[in-house]
Symmetry: C2
Subunit: 187 residues, 2 copies
């Protein structure tokens, strides 16, 4: 094994998802994940703080992508429009990974510890989006409430996308959730 | 100490909040909380599963109050209107307890473990409200998205109410948050 591991992080994540799908989260060890990826445990811990985190590294990257896209969105867009535009910059990344996203969600749904971390990451996403909207000049109730509304629409659209057997892309599910949210709040 | 303890649960909660405000969550033991309330540890564990839970029993009661009020709300109310009406049935209970609510929030904000449980309870509230809206006949995107929007407005309004030095009541802060949410999603 060379010192330089091309896409070690991605290999560890894919190995983890495969093992967890086969044998469950509790019975899957870091040693197995590393071995299955052709890497050492030490390499695993260079990328991930613990066993749970291997399932959430993608979510950290997603938060970074959304914040960068929010900052880069045209300054004249209203907060929720900017959020829709920012999500749009991330959906292709998910669409290429639907099978992995489904395995990951299955693992999370089956395990309270993972659900806890999922909720913590969602709160982190919401806080990061609120701050990015403030930096764009949104006022205080606007920033926090647009971020909360956007996260709600994303989560609902994401769940619909995971369950969708017809293969519609993530962006269309998110846009549809935003429209439903607009209808529900207009009353 | 008699076998029958009037408001043992409330006394344990108030004792816990006072001790936590004085000396921090980590340094406060169940034994101290029970002693300060004039009760035994055994009585504590009859009411609360663990030390964290003493801070969240009120939240469980709140979830029950909201769900009951949602079910009882006039059937012709749209989902978000029914939610506003349901929250309205709970706000007097909070307004009588603003000082305790502030101590509790201070403890939670200072401790990651408590934040985790707070997020889990918020997720539980959202799921319970979604189910109650379904039972009222709301369609699927409506039920989940109205619950998410309502929870977002409640949380924002609640934070504003806790920070409010002018003593406006919780309901006015929630209604104001719902209006801001409507503005932000209308664009």
């Amino acid at each position: 094994m060379g010192r330089w591991q091309p896409d070690a992080e991605g290999r560890l994540q894919r190995a983890a998802l495969e093992l967890i799908a086969d044998q469950g989260y509790d019975r899957t060890t870091v040693a197995e994940i590393a071995a299955s990826a052709g890497l050492t445990e030490r390499t695993f811990f260079r990328y991930f703080a613990d066993k749970r985190e291997v399932l959430f590294a993608g979510q950290e990257r997603f938060i970074g992508m959304v914040v960068d896209a929010l900052i880069a969105a045209p300054p004249d867009l209203a907060p929720l429009e900017a959020i829709i535009s920012a999500f749009g910059a991330t959906t292709a990344w998910f669409d290429e990974r639907r099978a992995l996203a489904r395995s990951r969600q299955g693992a999370i749904d089956a395990h309270p510890d993972l659900q806890e971390r999922e909720l913590a990451k969602v709160a982190k996403l919401s806080a990061a989006m609120t701050q990015a909207l403030r930096d764009r000049g949104a006022s205080e109730p606007q920033a926090a409430l647009a971020a909360a509304a956007g996260v709600a629409a994303f989560r609902f659209g994401f769940a619909q996308w995971l369950a969708d057997e017809d293969g519609h892309d993530l962006e269309s599910h998110i846009l549809s959730a935003v429209e439903d949210l607009r209808k529900v709040t207009a009353v």
